[in-house]
């Protein structure tokens, strides 16, 4: 695109603007280096002014430098924990109040603060005369910058997630702060430190108010030379000041790109072709098998009951899946087992028959894989896997061997030195798994392990994960909202809805004999119709009338909808699967519908049929057959396959 007059006009304006800012800086440098400012450059260059300044004002320069360092140290020591506590407190009202008041020093003119400090503390003579007096002022002025900078970084990363991950790996609160929080806050500390340093070196208002003849800083000295009207000395002094802060300022401008590298991961394309699923290496059970028992566990946050009281036993060595829609309480249940939440009073969590309700998460020896994997962004693949061993004080040699074994097991050894930002989704999942297993946990907890993978990859990884878990033989609890995932991985499925358990059973049982209308609807892609059960017949939308007698032809054992257990007469929900309905000629008493669409799926054709207002059903046709949309058809249902649930179910 050709650049028009508008562009050149703006460029010219911007250039003038930057000349306005830059010209005096250049003139400062020139004046500081010329022999005679009044005669200009022709008088020649000299360093004598700089020498003179260093001789006369050297002490102020060093004092400012030390003062800035001291301010920096104080700001890091008190500001870092402070910022962390603020971020931890989250949206609590007191926290936002404190944070708001912390920036007040920026909105009150320095001269007013200086006056206040002088009038309040000036009476303490020893304090008044020492450099600590200046330090106090500088800290007040600089602390907000450090706190905001650190808090900003800690807020963009999922800090609680990383901390929980570290806790399940065995790190206590202090260890988490030191090894996880501080390194992650790194860029924030750096950027805050640079700000604090430049601000402290250049601070004038407070320093001028608080100075004594023995605590004169660089800007105070500058003001002195300016007042003396010796333009060369003033320029030389200013030049020294600029040389001190300009490198720091330049470094500061690089920080955003540095931070971007921390928070933005490189998303490698993640396709099956690039990473063919491999059968993970078989392995002996990683640890003694442990059963999980929850007794009368309920959970209340504030006034909200997020989990109704229930008890659940998960036998050792089994793969248990908690299945349900989002917000059903399945993740809370998982967190209760991990120890990331504790149950309401009266509830008990037992691992291997031992009551661990009061045992903190880092002592429970649970391996947990988080939904977003929660790999520590500041550590390499190998360091991530080693973390749990390191916090437990495992000797380095042993740690290195275990890490190697674990990475070999998940076929990730060749990438052990990579940063976790350089991994694809599937690779991250394997690292997370290796990290969780490295500490030889008694139970393995997986929170939506496949949710962050894309759909194509998911099927392959699901099968791989199932083979892997089976080969490990470890007691596993997996949380998912995907029924296919639950069916293919679980030995035992716990279906949850609205903070309660709906049904517990094997995948077959759940599929064929759902205990409630919810389970019937949630599992297996069933059609749902609202009908009325009368004394002798079931009436469904579309004019279908099905004799009650025919409903009784069910095989025994599939109990719930046999005649003896038919729901009470009245409104009922009726479930059937797409393949349990056939297209048939229109006859009275048979369901009538209009084909909305027909999808060819290879081994079958799927029809979507409009039955009545707000009632669409899916059905299947044999391959090769199709019915054009718009055609009226009869829908033949197999009475013995219908599942009926009364209103209460």
């Amino acid at each position: 695109m050709k650049k028009g007059a508008f562009f050149w006009g703006q460029l010219g304006f911007t250039l003038v603007c930057s000349c306005f800012l830059l010209a005096p800086v250049v003139q400062t440098a020139l004046t500081a280096l010329t022999v005679d400012a009044f005669r200009g450059l022709s008088s020649g260059f000299t360093l004598k002014w700089l020498h003179k300044v260093l001789a006369t004002y050297g002490d102020t320069i060093f004092r400012s430098f030390y003062l800035a360092l001291a301010t920096l140290v104080v700001c890091v020591l008190v500001g870092l924990p402070f910022a962390y506590a603020l971020v931890k407190a989250g949206k609590a009202r007191w926290a936002s109040f404190i944070e708001e008041s912390l920036v007040l020093p920026l909105s009150v003119p320095g001269i007013a603060i200086g006056l206040g400090i002088l009038l309040t503390w000036g009476g303490l003579t020893w304090f008044r005369h020492s450099w600590l007096f200046l330090l106090a002022g500088h800290c007040i002025f600089c602390l907000p910058f450090m706190v905001r900078s650190v808090a900003a970084v800690l807020r963009v990363v999922p800090l609680p997630l990383y901390e929980e991950a570290a806790a399940t790996l065995g790190a206590d609160a202090f260890g988490r702060f030191r090894r996880i929080v501080v390194p992650i806050a790194g860029p924030g500390i750096l950027s805050g430190a640079l700000q604090v340093f430049t601000l402290s070196i250049g601070e004038f208002n407070l320093s001028w108010m608080l100075q004594t003849p023995f605590t004169r800083t660089l800007p105070v000295g500058l003001a002195d030379t300016y007042a003396s009207m010796r333009i060369e000395i003033g320029s030389a002094y200013t030049l020294i000041f600029l040389l001190l802060i300009v490198p720091v300022l330049t470094l500061m401008r690089k920080i955003p790109s540095l931070m971007a590298r921390m928070t933005h991961r490189v998303e490698a394309p993640d396709t099956l072709a690039a990473h063919p699923p491999v059968v993970m290496k078989y392995r002996e059970p990683a640890s003694d098998l442990v059963s999980i028992t929850l007794e009368n566990c309920s959970k209340t946050f504030g006034r909200t009951r997020v989990l109704h009281s229930f008890s659940l036993h998960m036998p050792k060595g089994r793969k248990v899946v908690l299945l349900g829609p989002s917000g059903c309480g399945k993740t809370t249940t998982l967190r209760l087992i991990a120890g990331l939440e504790s149950p309401d009073p009266g509830g008990k969590v037992l691992l291997g028959g031992k009551d661990v309700t009061r045992v903190p998460v880092e002592k429970r020896r649970v391996g947990m894989m988080f939904q977003q994997y929660a790999l520590f962004p500041h550590m390499s693949v190998a360091e991530n896997v080693a973390y749990g061993l390191r916090v437990r004080g495992t000797p380095p040699g042993e740690t290195a061997k275990t890490v190697d074994d674990m990475l070999e097991m998940v076929r990730m050894r060749h990438l052990s030195e990579r940063g976790v930002g350089e991994l694809s989704g599937g690779q991250r999942q394997r690292v997370a798994l290796a990290r969780a297993l490295a500490v030889k946990p008694g139970v393995l907890l997986l929170d939506e392990p496949l949710a962050s993978l894309d759909a194509i990859l998911r099927v392959g990884v699901r099968e791989e994960l199932d083979r892997f878990l089976t080969s490990l033989g470890i007691t596993t609890v997996l949380v998912t909202h995907d029924q296919d995932e639950a069916m293919s991985v679980g030995d035992l499925i716990v279906v949850m809805k609205d903070d309660r358990i709906e049904q517990i059973g094997s995948p077959r049982k759940i599929y064929h004999e759902p205990a409630t209308a919810f389970v019937a609807g949630f599992v297996g892609g069933s059609n749902r119709l609202e009908g009325i059960l009368e004394e002798d017949a079931l009436r469904l939308p579309g004019g279908a009338v099905i004799p009650v007698a025919s409903l009784s032809g069910r095989k025994p054992g599939a109990g719930i909808s046999s005649v003896s257990s038919l729901p009470p007469r009245g409104k009922v929900s009726v479930f059937f699967r797409p393949k349990q309905a056939q297209a048939a000629p229109l006859v009275p008493g048979r369901m009538r519908g209009t084909v909305v669409s027909a999808h060819f799926l290879g081994e079958k054709t799927r029809l979507v049929v409009w039955i009545a207002e707000e009632t669409l059903i899916k059905m299947e046709l044999p391959p090769g057959e199709t019915i054009p949309p718009g055609r009226e058809i009869g829908v033949k249902l197999m009475p013995e396959s219908l599942l009926l649930f009364g209103e209460s179910g």
Partner: protein, 268 residues
């Protein structure tokens, strides 16, 4: 319970520094300002005193003018720099944000170099018009100085705000038939209002409390911070100095407070 204790432990050091050297000293300014026979009346008396009153008005007007000018100049440059790529752009940005942490005294010196007796402007004027132009020590000098430290602040904030805007919205306006200028006025500018208001408020607060620049230029007009300083050091008039500090603090805080909530109302 242990978690709460840990949080408190983390908060206490910073809070105690904050209370000891900010909350307490600033709060104590109020009783100190009442430490005269007049009591609370000192506030009404001071505001009817032409010296203080004119100083307050001059400081506020000057700061307003500077903030407005900085928004126009810095905003234009920032939008241009963020929306265009050309060789040397990064260097230009670097130049524009360089004075960001220059202390006030240095800024004052920069004004002397620009518009003082040996200033670039003066020399240029002499070469062209034959007479020297010296305005460093007048209100114009203060204005230039405050502008000098305000422009970098505006440039950084507005550039950050522009980078977060979706260009798709402007493009949508263009596809609907708006000229580049129209789409800028109708779409881009309204989206920048919160950033402009907040950075304008910060410029205002910095200007109104700026001591170093005025101190270096030793101008004929007395801005409020200078008045406070002279009351305190020359006349040892603690109560008046404290009172004026309270007034200055309140005005600044009020402006920042308004700026924080006004754009919020507009957006929602």
């Amino acid at each position: 319970m242990r978690k709460k204790l840990l949080l408190v432990c983390f908060l206490v050091p910073a809070l105690s520094v904050f209370v000891a050297f900010f909350v307490l000293p600033v709060a104590l300014l109020v009783p100190r300002s009442l430490d005269t026979p007049a009591g609370w009346a000192i506030y009404t008396q001071a505001l009817s005193n032409p010296r203080y009153w004119s100083s307050l008005v001059a400081t506020v007007l000057l700061s307003l003018a500077v903030s407005f000018a900085a928004l126009v100049i810095g905003g234009t440059a920032a939008i241009f720099l963020e929306r265009n790529a050309f060789p040397g752009r990064d260097f230009l940005v670097g130049m524009l944000v360089l004075p960001l942490s220059f202390p006030g005294v240095v800024v004052g010196f920069m004004v002397i170099l620009l518009a003082g007796r040996q200033g670039i402007v003066g020399l240029a004027a002499k070469a062209i018009f034959g007479s020297r132009l010296v305005f460093a020590y007048s209100v114009a000098g203060l204005f230039v100085g405050y502008l000098y430290f305000s422009i970098p602040r505006v440039v950084t904030t507005v550039m950050a705000a522009v980078s977060k805007l979706e260009t798709a919205r402007e493009e949508a306006a263009r596809t609907l038939g708006a000229s580049p200028f129209r789409s800028f006025v109708d779409v881009t500018l309204p989206a920048l209002v919160p950033a402009l208001v907040s950075t304008g408020a910060i410029c205002f607060a910095t200007s109104i409390g700026a001591f170093g620049t005025a101190f270096t230029l030793a101008t004929e007009i007395n801005v409020l911070p200078i008045v406070i300083y002279t009351e305190f050091t020359l006349f040892a008039n603690f109560a008046t100095a404290a009172m004026l500090s309270v007034v200055l603090g309140c005005v600044t805080w009020l402006i920042l407070f308004l700026a924080k909530f006004l754009p919020g109302f507009q957006v929602s």
